[in-house]
């Protein structure tokens, strides 16, 4: 049988395995096996790829694979769950870089038709901007650089010029597609610059959107590379990834009640300030908190990024178990944009061994929030801010929130009275049924646990 046909048949098998793998990701019970299926699909595609006609020297391939395996395996083993967003940002970037390089290398393969030239260019363009965009996203998440939005006068003009420059350079390149064309280097340079320019105006709180979007771009880049080299499996896999990124982006935007354009082009917050809030903050001591916990029959934890920073997930889980042993119903309500990437809090709580049945979504908890005796807000702020519901002047007005203020009692664990990521005041802290538990979240909860003793 001819080898090319065999390779293509293997691609069909691996595409089926990818699809099956994604389908099994629909439930935590089957997800791990799904990932196995997906990786098996990848193995088949890789082996099939290695048999492709035209490959003569395997030393370079082996060298590249060894380097990649070492870096990838080390990264996957060593990364802490708290820094998962940074890790995914870097993976997005390396996916973009790979597509860029495949597109570029294809130019050295001989004469090129116009359609191929266009797809190569798209791979370089999208791959390039995914690469630098992801590096900036990484730097912001890891706080290597200031995570606030960087906005300057004339930013839109600069970006429009940049875009026009890319289109022109790309057009000139397609007229005469050669590997050593100066237009190629210009396009590449501008694409890399565009990635930087696109991510710097986006503030830290909007990172979940950016990561999802870059995830989608890395898939689209793979798709473009697939067109460039006429390879089905790249197109199928790339568009699955592209679709996944777009769906997540959409969910994130909805959860913040903002349009994608608004996230991408405007720095957050500074525009207008909501009503000043008046009222009294009622602090509570660890002992008093204990008495309330002891008497509660329904407790709901609402975690935010602050929980990750304080590394409080393990003590939270410990408290949850004690409460359960005490006959209390325990759940963990997770807002879609809590944390720095979609699903970030879920992973942290899973790491702390919280069974996934107890992780509930915002839409599930809100209708029954009145039955919750104590809602414990740990390191979350904007996602529980009632101004989003009540104050039309608030910058976050309209954003769906977890209505903890409607629970019987709310404990807010907080270091100090500073406002959240978006810089918006939170009337929840002044609420009638709110008690503030000041101090490090981990220490406060450990304190309550030792009271249970």
């Amino acid at each position: 049988m001819n080898i090319e046909l065999l390779a293509n048949l293997s691609y069909i098998v691996s595409a089926a395995l990818f699809i099956f793998g994604l389908k099994m990701l629909g439930s935590p019970a089957t997800a791990r096996r799904g990932n196995m299926f997906s990786s098996l699909g990848m193995l088949i595609a890789v082996v099939a790829g290695l048999t492709a006609e035209g490959i003569v020297s395997y030393e370079y391939i082996a060298g590249g694979m060894v380097i990649g395996t070492i870096i990838g395996a080390l990264a996957a083993r060593l990364v802490g769950m708290t820094s998962m967003p940074e890790m995914v940002a870097l993976f997005n970037g390396s996916g973009g870089a790979a597509s860029l390089l495949v597109g570029w290398a294809t130019l050295y393969g001989g004469s090129i038709e116009t359609f191929t030239a266009v797809t190569i260019l798209l791979a370089i363009l999208i791959g390039g901007l995914t690469f630098t965009g992801s590096l900036i996203a990484y730097a912001k998440l890891a706080e290597v650089m200031n995570s606030a939005a960087i906005v300057f006068k004339g930013q839109r003009l600069v970006n429009s010029l940049l875009l026009a420059g890319i289109v022109y350079a790309a057009y000139m390149f397609c007229l005469d597609p050669q590997a050593d064309s100066q237009w190629l280097y210009i396009t590449l340079g501008l694409a890399l610059l565009l990635g930087v320019m696109a991510v710097i105006p986006i503030g830290g709180a909007d990172m979940p959107v950016v990561i999802s979007l870059l995830n989608s771009y890395s898939g689209i880049a793979a798709c473009a590379a697939g067109f460039a080299i006429n390879n089905n499996i790249l197109i199928v896999a790339g568009s699955l990834v592209g679709a996944s990124g777009i769906i997540l982006t959409n969910i994130m935007c909805k959860a913040m009640n903002r349009s994608l354009a608004n996230v991408l082009f405007s720095g957050f917050g500074a525009v207008k300030q909501g009503k000043a809030i008046e009222g009294e903050v009622k602090p509570v001591s660890v002992e008093d908190a204990y008495y309330l916990f002891e008497a509660a029959s329904n407790v709901c934890f609402v975690p935010g990024y602050g929980m990750a920073v304080a590394q409080a997930q393990h003590v939270v889980k410990e408290l949850g178990e004690i409460l359960e042993a005490n006959g209390c119903e325990v759940s963990y309500a997770i807002h879609p944009v809590a944390g720095r990437m979609p699903g970030h809090m879920n992973v942290l709580l899973a790491e702390a061994d919280v069974p996934y049945e107890q992780l509930v979504e915002m839409d599930d908890i809100n209708p029954r929030i009145e039955n919750v005796d104590i809602a414990v807000v740990i390191g979350a702020n904007d996602v529980v801010n009632p101004s989003a519901r009540e104050d039309e002047d608030s910058p976050i007005y309209g954003m769906p929130i977890i209505n903890v203020d409607q629970a019987r009692t709310v404990f807010v664990l907080k270091r100090s009275m500073a406002s959240g990521f978006s810089g918006v005041d939170n009337p929840l802290f002044f609420g009638e049924n709110t008690r503030m538990l000041f101090g490090d979240a981990k220490e406060s909860i450990s304190g309550v646990i030792s009271e249970f003793g």
Binding site: G26, S39, I55, I61, M65, V79, M81, A97, S239, A243
Partner: protein, 96 residues
Amino acid sequence: MEIVFLIFILVLSIFLGFELISKVPATLHTPLMSGANAISGITLAGAFLAAGMVDSEMGKYLGTAAVAFATINVVGGYMVTDRMLGMFKSKKAGGK
């Protein structure tokens, strides 16, 4: 005709992707992203062609770098996804 055929595949895969992924629960969104990262490492299959070509030194270097980057995605992506999914435990399965 070849092009039309490829676009046909593209369109169908996009629809399929939307169908599949909108069924993934929010709890699994982080593993979904890292798993998607691993899948986008499929560029590896294309990188082989570029890295294994003999006729151009430059093309070979670019291809090798592409192989390395894509392998990071494949190996790192699947491993970290597996690590995460291993943490999701059910109550019944002794998830204490």
